[in-house]
């Protein structure tokens, strides 16, 4: 089962929950960080990296001697990555989305396949080799995150094909293209909710954004029971009830928990009570798997 841990709002606790769940999972698992603009899972699950590779996007480069100036490439490019000045084709590879349209229409083989560096993909293991690890990290200055994420998710599929297991996938924040790129590969989406006014607002946005994907969703409240915010907690519970969104756990607000996180340690290692909370959350997630697993069998 591929579980995507998402949130809408940044800082809700996605990475915290992912890392501690990985710690208690106890079955073949890949821990995946797809928050490629700000990847943090490796800071809580220090990996043994076994493979690091640079990821590239296939972009065009011009062979001017072959160009017949038909401008077909410019006309098909919707991203303004190809311009024509004074009868000369000029390329802006940073704007390219890699759709391949220019290659498809060039009548004279004047476009050569070149590469734009998107970032890096790292593979390895965490938790004394017991859990496989995968992380993407964008290059600073690269504006497009989804192409790297698509390659990362492809790599994850290969890893799960090679050695079957579950995947816990730490998602990018927000509800636009990076988050949706990851969420649509999920078998189950777990929304980590910060029950503050900001967190509740962004949680609802995330829930609405992911509904069309048509995968089961569940929620977990992080930092529940904060002083003076009983209403915030209750608002999340009420929303979950109204939307039939299973609320699998409420992780309490504790200064010690914030400090544990701030020192880079796992919440599941803070105390037996915290460990039990994550074991219960794991069991609740696995209990949701059953219907989907049956569907997978039908596919096969």
């Amino acid at each position: 089962m591929r579980i995507v841990i998402a949130s809408g709002k940044g800082g809700a606790g996605k990475t915290c929950v992912t890392a501690s769940l990985a710690d208690v999972w106890g079955a073949p698992l890949v821990a995946v960080d797809t928050d490629a603009e700000a990847p943090n899972l490796h800071l809580f699950l220090p990996p043994q990296i076994t493979e690091k590779k640079t990821a590239f996007l296939d972009v065009p480069n011009l062979a001017p001697e072959k160009c017949v100036h038909c401008e077909k490439c410019r006309n098909i490019c919707t991203y303004k990555a190809i311009a024509s000045f004074a009868g000369r084709i000029t390329l802006f590879p940073d704007m390219c989305h890699g759709c391949g349209g220019c290659f498809a229409v060039c009548p004279s083989d004047a476009l050569i396949h070149a590469e734009r560096e998107l970032g890096e993909l790292c593979r390895g293991t965490v938790l004394e080799g017991s859990v496989r690890f995968l992380m993407g990290r964008t290059r600073i200055g690269e504006s497009m995150t989804p192409p790297l994420l698509r390659q990362e998710l492809k790599l994850l599929a290969d890893m799960l094909d090679a050695v079957p297991g579950d995947a816990l996938i730490d998602s990018p924040p927000g509800v636009s293209c990076p988050a949706v790129t990851v969420a649509r590969e999920a078998d189950l989406i777990l929304l980590v909710v910060d029950p503050t006014p900001f967190g509740f607002h962004d949680f609802r946005l995330a829930h609405q954004a992911f509904l069309p994907i048509g995968r089961p969703m569940a929620a977990v409240i992080n930092r529940a029971g904060a002083d003076g915010n009983a209403e915030g907690d209750e608002a999340v519970r009420r929303y979950c009830r109204e939307k039939n969104l299973p609320l699998l756990a409420e992780l309490p607000f504790e200064r010690e928990a914030a400090e544990q996180y701030a020192s880079g340690r796992l919440l599941a290692e803070l105390s037996p009570a915290w460990r039990t909370r994550f074991e219960n959350l794991r069991d609740a997630l696995l209990a949701m798997e059953a219907p989907h697993a049956a569907k997978e069998t039908n596919h096969a």
């Binding site: 809408g8 709002k9 940044g10 800082g11 809700a12 603009e37 700000a38 990847p39 943090n40 800071l43 809580f44 098909i76 919707t78 989305h97 759709c99 391949g100 349209g101 498809a104 964008t138 600073i140 200055g141 690269e142 504006s143 497009m144 995150t145 698509r150 990018p172 924040p173 927000g174 509800v175 636009s176 293209c177 990076p178 949706v180 649509r184 910060d194 503050t196 006014p197 900001f198 607002h201 962004d202 946005l205 995330a206 609405q208 954004a209 992911f210 069309p212 994907i213 904060a226 002083d227 003076g228 915010n229 209403e231 200064r255 914030a258 400090e259 996180y261 701030a262 020192s263 880079g264």
Partner: protein, 290 residues
């Protein structure tokens, strides 16, 4: 005119909390929420919407089954794996379609339409702190970078029209397309960071991004007492890199309380708000006008 953008790298470090305080303190400004993906500033500022405009950007492919020859060329060409064969013929998955239009251009039967996308709405509003430009991308929509550029252009022109000299922007997390658009043309970035392993890692990336685009950076270490050693290390990073350290804020429940009461921290007397006032004054002495 000066343009100040509040960013963080990591989400949840306190960008919007700081932005709201600065929006309260700044004179002669337009407020702009550039976190179009998950905007929160309006929750504190309670804007009175004056104008609403549709944000139409990008396209999605739609295959007309009556004209489709089922040749499969579109599916073979699609670099995003968005076109698949279903029981009733080929169809483009709107969640995967990037709107590049290659399929429509090259369909031999001209059976593919590119439909313009209404991705969200943007607004010009009045708030108790002054005029505000903000937006909301519809859930799951794309082109956040373009919307950020549009909001900034609108905020600048509003400032010019009303003779205001500051545009104050709440940014989005990460270092990707919306953040890069936010930094374009900015006179100063304010980095709100937290002294956690994640906060420090992501702050380094956003600091690199500011250097990459030559935008000066001033730093606020939020929740500093959660890990004083890490906060010291971050202060040292600032010194080494020549970034301005505006100061530190404590981890204090008053921040959540202010949010619950829909107030900026500087609107009532509390230690965090008072420090933010000092930081705003310090910021006035930085030479960031352009």
């Amino acid at each position: 005119m000066r343009e100040i953008v509040v960013i963080s790298g990591k989400g949840g470090t306190g960008k919007t909390t700081v932005s709201a305080a600065f929006a309260h303190l700044a004179q002669n400004k337009v407020i702009c929420d550039l976190d179009v993906d998950a905007p929160d500033l309006h929750i504190l500022l309670d804007p009175n919407i004056r104008e609403t405009h549709a944000f139409v950007s990008g396209h999605k492919a739609r295959i007309r089954h009556d004209a489709c020859l089922s040749c499969g060329r579109c599916a073979a060409l699609c670099a995003f794996d968005a076109i698949r064969l279903h029981d009733d013929g080929y169809a483009a998955d709107p969640l995967r379609c990037e709107g590049c239009g290659v399929c429509a251009h090259l369909c031999p039967a001209k059976a593919i339409d590119l439909e313009e996308q209404h991705c969200g709405d943007w607004h010009i509003s009045d708030t108790r702190f002054g005029p505000m430009v903000h937006a909301l991308l519809f859930p799951g929509q794309e082109n956040s970078g373009k919307l950020v550029s549009l909001l900034k252009a609108e905020a600048r022109s509003l400032a010019r029209e009303q003779g205001l000299d500051t545009v104050l922007c709440d940014g989005s997390p990460g270092v990707g397309c919306p953040v890069i658009s936010s930094l374009s043309g900015a006179s100063l970035a304010v980095g709100v960071v937290e002294p956690t392993p994640s906060g420090r890692h992501d702050f380094r990336r956003v600091a690199d991004l500011c250097r990459h685009f030559r935008v000066p950076l001033a730093v606020i270490i939020n929740k500093a007492d959660l890990n004083e050693d890490e906060a010291d290390a971050m202060a040292e990073d600032c010194r080494k890199n020549g970034d301005v350290l505006l100061g530190r804020l404590p981890f204090d429940p008053v921040v959540t309380r202010a949010m619950v009461e829909r107030k900026a921290l500087t609107e009532f007397d509390n230690p965090v708000g008072n420090r933010l006032k000092d930081m705003w004054s310090a910021l006035q002495n930085l030479n960031v006008r352009r």
